[in-house]
């Protein structure tokens, strides 16, 4: 069994940390470049089992494994909004045998705002798989249909309440509020399951949604896309990328630890591209989870990430 693999990985990680801490050395060249993948690949998912990202990863792992010719072992390491799993992969041996399937929010937000043991340069972005459909939403019968309408309504008096689902979603909405000079109070909720009753029960005036609103067509409406572009389900609603030049990290990506050899990344990227065309995977993501399958290769993805980070820094500076 692959016990020895894990343990070797752990020891290698440990050795790496020690080496880096004492001498500032980087990892030596992996000995078996070219033979990738030489053993089963561990795909770390930093979220709880059963969620939509984890479900997606499990189906994707099957397709990717078939493509690479080695089984992919999905390993869930939930905690701290993805930071626990990201920390683990950042410290793993950079040989492509330990990779991470995560939302870019988990890779970008913690290093900019919290004390964590990885930074913006800890990962090589191999490929984007899909895009989360993040939005500002309101009840269907709310007296405003767009973000501009909401802002105009807010200026008529009285502060409005909104439900957020994370420090980052709160920061972005507060950024808009500060820019527009309106008073919005964020009520933190523990995810879509708590946000929906708050919104539909009229406890809050509007809410941030990570995509759950797609299940409530007719009960909720989208006021703005929080991504850089527009959402597939509401192509007529402008995004904050258009309006304010900022966007929330929205990509679901596969990353490898920094220092992974170029040819390994290329092999992986090619296999991922083919795997995203797998029929089972496409059916699950597009028809059942209602996300778009959106493959983006390493170079274009890195440029996209750089742009996201520029906006993110602006938001962090203003709100934190």
């Amino acid at each position: 069994m692959s016990h020895s693999t894990t343990r070797r990985g752990l020891l290698a990680g440990l050795a790496l940390t020690v080496a880096a801490a004492t001498a500032g050395l980087t990892a030596s060249e992996p000995a078996f470049a070219g033979a990738y993948p030489a053993k089963p690949v561990t795909l770390v998912v930093p979220y709880r089992a059963g969620g939509s990202t984890e479900t997606m990863a499990r189906v994707f792992a099957k397709a990717l494994g078939a493509e690479l010719g080695q089984p992919i072992v999905v390993r869930t390491r939930p905690g701290a909004g993805g930071a626990v799993g990201a920390t683990e992969v950042a410290a793993a041996a950079p040989d492509g045998h330990t990779i991470l399937f995560a939302a870019t929010a988990s890779l970008l937000w913690p290093p900019l705002t919290q004390k964590v043991e990885y930074d913006l340069n800890s990962f090589i972005y191999v490929a984007q798989i899909t895009e989360y459909q993040q939005a500002i939403v309101a009840k269907a019968d709310a007296p405003y249909d767009t973000l501009a309408g909401l802002i105009a309504h807010s200026k008529q008096g009285g502060g409005l309440n909104y439900a957020d689902q994370s420090a980052m979603s709160r920061a972005y909405i507060d950024f808009i509020a500060a820019k527009e000079g309106v008073e919005w109070t964020g009520i933190p909720t523990k995810g879509g399951g708590e946000m929906v009753p708050f919104l539909l029960g009229g406890k809050v005036d509007f809410a941030w949604s990570g995509g759950i609103h797609n299940r409530y067509a007719g009960k909720m409406k989208v006021l703005a896309s929080m991504n850089s572009g527009r959402l597939i389900a509401s192509p007529d609603t402008p995004s904050i990328g258009e309006t304010y030049g900022i966007a929330m990290p929205s990509q679901a990506v596969i990353v490898a630890p920094a220092g992974t050899p170029r040819d390994v990344v290329d092999t992986l990227q090619a296999a991922i591209e083919t795997a995203t065309r797998d029929a089972d995977f496409a059916d699950l993501v597009e028809n059942k989870l209602k996300f778009p399958v959106k493959f983006v290769g390493a170079t274009a993805l890195q440029a996209d990430i750089d742009q996201t980070v520029t906006g993110l820094r602006k938001v962090v500076e203003q709100t934190q």
């Binding site: 069994m1 894990t6 343990r7």
Partner: protein
């Protein structure tokens, strides 16, 4: 009769006044440390507009523990002065805690260094011996077979590699 034999959670009889006083003093020290050192140093104490500060609930919890700990010391002292010596002594827990701490530390180190199967074998054999089991064949068989079964089951059913 041990409390476990009596069943229930804590057993029927109370503890001796001396044990209560000791527990109260220990809790009071911990609560004071939390209130005046740990919470201020490691928690944001600024207050938002309409919210209580993040330090409010930690302080509330620790403060109430402090008050109750003082009450415990007071009632223990009163019982002691009144000449009550009944109840279970809590002294022997110290030895047990020491043994447990050593065993737990060894288990954690073992899991990281020699892995789940070997550590589990030692855990099973060690605790069986402590519990007075002396059928060597049984101990050996359980220590070898059981970790293997658990490890295999974890891999087959959950695709989880135990450490």
């Amino acid at each position: 009769m041990t409390p476990a034999d009596a069943g229930g959670e804590t057993g029927p009889a109370g503890t001796t006044p001396a044990t209560d006083i000791a527990a109260g003093v220990l809790l009071a020290i911990l609560a004071l440390a939390a209130l005046f050192w740990i919470v201020p140093a490691h928690t944001e104490t600024a207050v938002g507009d309409y919210d209580v500060s993040p330090a409010f609930f930690p302080r509330l919890g620790a403060g109430l523990v402090l008050v109750l700990a003082f009450t415990l010391v007071a009632t223990g002292t009163r019982r002691h002065l009144a000449g009550h010596r009944d109840g279970r002594p809590g002294r022997r827990v110290l030895a047990e805690l020491l043994i447990w701490s050593a065993a737990a530390t060894a288990t954690v180190i073992g899991l990281q260094v020699i892995g789940f199967i070997a550590t589990s074998a030692l855990v099973i054999a060690g605790w069986m011996l402590l519990a007075g089991e002396r059928r060597w064949l049984l101990i050996g068989a359980a220590a070898v077979a059981f970790p293997l079964v658990v490890d295999t089951a974890a891999w087959v059913f959950f695709t989880v590699d135990l450490p």
